[in-house]
Subunit: 336 residues, 2 copies
């Protein structure tokens, strides 16, 4: 993985010099950064490394004309969001990418967006690889977490509340505007695009929920599909008030049916969905305040009606009446 | 990074079921595998994780018609080679890839090559990401190494011998045959292609060299260029006997000038180049025997003639006479 520094002076200029410098290997939990065959990294004492990898491909995860500064932000943000969902403290990341050509303005803007977010979370670039080829961005991110405090998907318990951070649906609403699926006024369009292009990983909330939340994940493919991952791994059932799912003022100006599909099956939200015991409601609210992000209670976890039942979600409206949702075929940007 | 299991049943079948299963998070150094937002991993007690990432792109790092089983092998092998060069013990890897389509026979063969090598080195798949797109393979690999025993690039010392494992040049000779640059008989062609497509990472040798070698790296871009990385980071000079660089019987049947260019600037060798004090010659030979790989002494490290000099290699022939090499413009497969 030594190629990042040696091949293109542009790559060196925009990435190598801002990466973690090689340090003495006896620096304990420090890193041996770019320039050797491997980086060296250790979690904090008594903790483990939480590791996640995501690959972003042009046309699949972003449009060809995306602002490269926003793309740099999002490339790291979607990985930090996975750390947030485990309650892990970001430490470092590697970046491998293939580029059709080394375009100076593009690399300058992309690296600016990437490193601005990395700096905010103290997450150092420790290695990478660059090559020619169709545009492809692959980040692997490393955080530190005490194993007992990790927010797993299989830890939801009967009686838990189901919580959502922030608001859902704006990213999908933005994609719909870009695609011409529905109109929105300029201010709302700007808000939707910002949600689509510059998601904010909920790292502080993930850390604040250690010891409070039971199960958690980050919402990348839409609440309806992603919550099922918690239910399947925890062997639990859920009842969710679809009208309680938090949405922005801008989204509330779209048609009710579009609001519902965007919030429940929108994708690209990068908010946390988590469960916590009802006794922890005040603690969850306090964690939200500490992390400066709203948290909203949307439903309840319960035991499977019968042990062999498939985990599923019962959707209800605000009055508690059952809802039949038709979310199938509502594709979103983060299609795979 | 949850998409590996959920999207394609083929991906699940060939990768998910052979990946590390989720285990209780209190398993100490164990892993929380595929199926959660992150994997959890720790190095051995008192050690650090050595981390490397490589991205392989069709047409750049392999030909479109490559045997997918061999490609699976090589995708992991080039990453394990980076661990070998640090003296690290392989532990785990993540795999992110984009594929134009999910072809069952291709995935079956690719995964077979990948997991066969992973099993030999006890290296578990702990996470990944899959998406549609032009064929692109990105592996991040994790090993464990005591920080003081890591074989770094900046640790060469004046008076060190320079050593090479195995033989060099066969992979480049194989690419030349495939490209029609030179002919070879069928048996030699098969040997060259095997070197090109199925490099063997020198993991046991890297482990055996802990505490013996000073500096090390793996040869991916050719000896002439890669040895310079050690010299530049160690601020040292080298004298190398070009005729002593080990080559296979098959390679010796090609023209002498082709032999020289393939061994010195061939690329894709994935052998180790390392330095060790002259007092350690017997120990190095013993490490080679222990790892069942030949090791050959090819030169000597010396102090820079003047502190401001650029690190460089003095090439000599077998009689000790200076050689002027013209290796520029000899491109190799692993072009970036």
């Amino acid at each position: 993985m030594a190629t990042m520094l040696s091949e293109f002076s542009l790559i060196d200029r925009f990435f190598g010099r801002r990466a973690a410098a090689a340090r003495p290997s006896d620096a304990g939990a420090g890193t041996l950064g770019i320039g050797d065959d491997c980086a060296l990294l250790a979690p904090r004492a008594g903790e483990m490394l939480a590791i996640s990898t995501d690959m972003l491909v042009e046309g699949r995860h972003f449009l060809a004309d995306v602002d490269p500064e926003a793309l740099g932000h999002k490339t790291l943000a979607v990985n930090l969001s996975d750390l947030a969902a485990m309650g892990a403290q970001p430490q470092a990341f590697t970046l491998a990418f293939s580029l059709p050509k080394a375009d100076e303005a593009w690399l300058a803007a992309f690296s600016e967006g990437l490193f601005a977010l990395a700096a905010r979370y103290g997450c150092e670039l420790i290695g990478g690889d660059t090559t020619g080829g169709p545009l492809n961005l692959c980040v692997t991110v490393f955080g530190s977490v005490p194993p007992q405090a990790a927010l797993r998907r299989d830890a939801a318990q009967s009686g838990d509340d189901i919580w959502i951070s922030g608001t859902l649906g704006d990213a999908r609403a933005g994609l719909g505007v870009l695609r011409g699926e529905w109109p929105a006024d300029p201010a709302d369009t700007a808000a939707f695009r910002r949600a689509l292009e510059r998601p904010e990983p909920r790292v502080p909330l993930g850390l604040a929920l250690r010891g409070i939340a039971h199960a958690a994940l980050d919402l990348s493919d839409g609440l309806a599909g992603d919550l099922l991952h918690i239910l399947e791994r925890s062997r639990m059932h859920a009842t969710v008030d679809a009208d309680a799912v938090p949405r922005s003022t801008a989204l509330r100006r779209l048609a009710p049916e579009i609001q519902q599909r965007c919030t429940l099956a929108g994708g690209d939200d990068y908010e946390l969905c988590f469960t916590a015991p009802a006794t922890a409601r005040a603690a969850v609210e306090a964690a939200g305040r500490e992390a400066a992000v709203p948290v909203t209670r949307v439903g309840t976890i319960s035991a499977l009606p019968a042990p062999d039942d498939r985990p599923a979600i019962d959707w209800r409206d605000a009055a508690g009446a059952p809802l039949t949702l038709t979310l199938q075929g509502f594709d979103h940007f983060h299609a795979d």
